[in-house]
């Protein structure tokens, strides 16, 4: 913001209110059309998934075997699957699972990964070595075996789904955060903060993290679809939604096998999946711009 040369200093009482990062960010976000669009889209999808099934005449498991897979029409707006079930209802129901698991598990992975990576990157030395070797070890362990073991010891809980997914997705996040922290921690403003005597925790969370939000946000938007598709893989192992319930990942997988004969079974789940991801992405970009303390957009 440039100040006209002829401006006079405002009277002391009219000094601006101090503004927190969060408040500033929200103001900027509101102005970003795409981000708002993304947020609105997401909200609409979420509401549809939560409320929609009650408004629709068909149950998600209601079969019409004689009908089989039929293309979109007046009776079934998005068509039906091979068992004659309405695709729209199943898509919305599946959205509950996918959105819920996708967002929650990503949040878990994000939290763990950021804290872990920040600690490792900031403190460096032996701690960093140990923490990173643990990451290496967890990377290498065979995932299907790990999941089956989880199921053997803890039964088939929906919570296990989060544990299994979260256990895998935080690893790369931790690595990315670590490398970013390592790049930033020697910058002058961090030196300044240290000189000012700020505690380590404050430095990490209040000074370093806001400056590396960019890649974190981007990687989070990369993680969410991975999580949703990982859930589809887990349902193969028997963890994840049980039929007749379905999720977007499973719907897309099934639709992909029938893409020539019943293309609507792929197109609509994939479209909704992509729309959600795009929205999350716009929102993420918007958040990053809004929270960007160094942005030189002017």
């Amino acid at each position: 913001m440039s100040v006209p040369a002829t401006a006079t200093l405002p009277a002391p009482e009219a000094l601006e209110q101090g503004s927190s990062l969060g408040h500033d960010a929200w103001l900027r976000l509101r102005k970003n059309q795409l981000a708002v669009f993304g947020l609105v889209c997401l909200a609409v999808v979420a509401v549809l998934c939560l409320v929609g099934p009650w408004l629709l005449p068909y149950g998600y498991e209601e079969q019409k075997l004689e009908l089989g897979a039929s293309p979109p029409g007046a009776m079934h707006w998005l068509g039906t699957d091979t068992l004659g079930r309405d695709l729209l209802v199943r898509l919305l129901y599946g959205g509950r699972i996918s959105l819920g698991v996708g967002l929650a598990a990503t949040f878990v992975a994000l939290t763990i990964g950021v804290v872990y990576g920040a600690v490792a990157g900031f403190f460096g030395g032996k701690l960093d070595a140990v923490l990173m070797r643990i990451v290496d070890i967890m990377y290498s362990l065979p995932f299907p075996i790990f999941v089956i073991l989880l199921m053997v010891f803890f039964g088939k809980n929906i919570i296990l789904l989060f544990v299994a997914i979260g256990a895998v997705e935080w690893l790369t996040m931790a690595r990315i955060v670590r490398s970013q922290v390592m790049a930033v921690k020697r910058m002058e403003f961090i030196e300044a903060a240290r000189a000012l005597g700020f505690g380590k925790r404050r430095i990490i969370f209040r000074h370093i993290l806001p400056n590396i939000l960019g890649p974190i946000i981007v990687y989070t938007t990369l993680t969410i679809p991975a999580v949703m598709l990982l859930e589809a893989f887990l349902s193969f192992l028997g963890l994840g939604v049980q039929p007749p319930m379905s999720s977007w990942g499973v719907l897309i997988k099934d639709g992909a096998e029938k893409m020539e004969e019943f293309s609507w079974l792929l197109v609509f789940p994939a479209a909704l999946f992509s729309l959600t991801l795009f929205s999350l992405n716009f929102l993420g970009d918007g958040l990053r711009d809004a929270l960007d303390v160094r942005s030189s957009k002017d």
Partner: protein, 306 residues
């Protein structure tokens, strides 16, 4: 630097040992074994089978035997494919996956970094939109959708390629594109994010003020820092891409090692599971080491040792 590398290698060896131990015992606790089959075998035959593979010995004994043979470089016979050893299976399949992976990686890096940089430089213009859309599509459309689509279009409709198989050079094209596309997308997104961070910084402004051309600014000044998030993503990503992708190999019938990572677990082929885990662990640790060194080179503020 030398001290750093040796210390890192030692750490990695320890980590590798832990991985092997954990995996060895993990797979034994999982229900079902290599000989669990639909047409059940009599207990006597099962006993003989287990004796043949030494599975009737106490577990700690088997573990030690395995470590000893590992020391000799012998990964053991495969349970599922009795007339081939794990060494042979990996020796046959790894080069295939590596070839596919290298091609896909080249594609992903070239396309991904270019598009990401363009998107960052021409931020909020149509170039940015197209590049970002491409990026998002790669992420939100899974490979098991892209693969068959490409096969339907290019192989079946247009007849330019075989539907699957790994026989001639032409068979490399489709799988490399699909796998590359899947990685180009995150690479382009991370590049864009990283470049945006860098391009907003003061030293870039300084360079501009000094009259440097945009191209020079990008290639000489910005890329080095802007690619930082890509590099740390690439560590495990390269390991993943080099060991092939289960989905791609299944769709295109490629005799690579990617499928074995998953199938060996499903077959409870104990030795092959361990072999693939060791392979992957070695790759991951080596690549992470390389990534750390590269990161330090790219950003001198990042010190390797404390």
């Amino acid at each position: 630097m030398f001290r750093f590398i040796t210390s890192r290698l030692l750490q990695s060896l320890l980590a590798l040992f832990l991985v092997i131990t954990a995996t060895f015992f993990m797979i034994r606790f999982v229900p079902g074994g290599p000989f669990t089959a639909e047409k059940a075998v009599t207990p006597e035959i099962l006993r003989n089978l287990e004796a043949h593979y030494g599975l009737d010995r106490p577990l700690w004994r088997q573990y030690l035997d395995y470590l000893v043979s590992l020391g000799r470089g012998d990964l053991g016979p495969s349970f599922k494919y009795p007339n081939r050893t794990v060494n042979e299976i990996i020796g046959d399949k790894l080069p295939v996956s590596a070839e596919l992976g290298a091609l896909a990686l080249a594609f992903a890096l070239v396309i991904g970094i270019t598009l990401g940089t363009l998107a960052a430089v021409y931020r909020n213009t149509w170039i940015d939109y197209v590049a970002s859309t491409f990026g998002m599509m790669g992420i939100s459309i899974p490979t098991f959708v892209v693969g068959p689509l490409l096969v339907l279009g290019l192989a079946i409709h247009l007849g330019w390629f075989n539907a699957s198989g790994w026989y001639g050079p032409a068979d490399r094209v489709l799988p490399a594109i699909v796998l590359g596309f899947a990685y180009a997308a995150p690479v382009s997104r991370l590049t864009r994010g990283g470049m945006l961070e860098i391009l907003g910084q003061d030293f870039i402004r300084t360079a501009r003020a000094k009259g440097a051309s945009e191209l020079r600014i990008i290639t000489r000044h910005a890329l080095r820092g802007g690619l930082l998030p890509v590099v740390s993503f690439l560590g495990p990503a390269v390991a993943g891409i080099l060991t092939g992708s289960f989905v791609i190999e299944t769709i295109f019938q490629i005799p690579g090692i990617g499928r074995e990572f998953v199938n060996s677990a499903f077959n409870r082929d104990y030795t092959l599971v361990l072999g693939t885990v060791i392979l992957y662990a070695v790759l991951i640790m080596a690549l992470n080491l390389v990534v750390d060194i590269v990161q330090a080179w790219m950003n001198p503020k990042v010190r390797l040792e404390e």
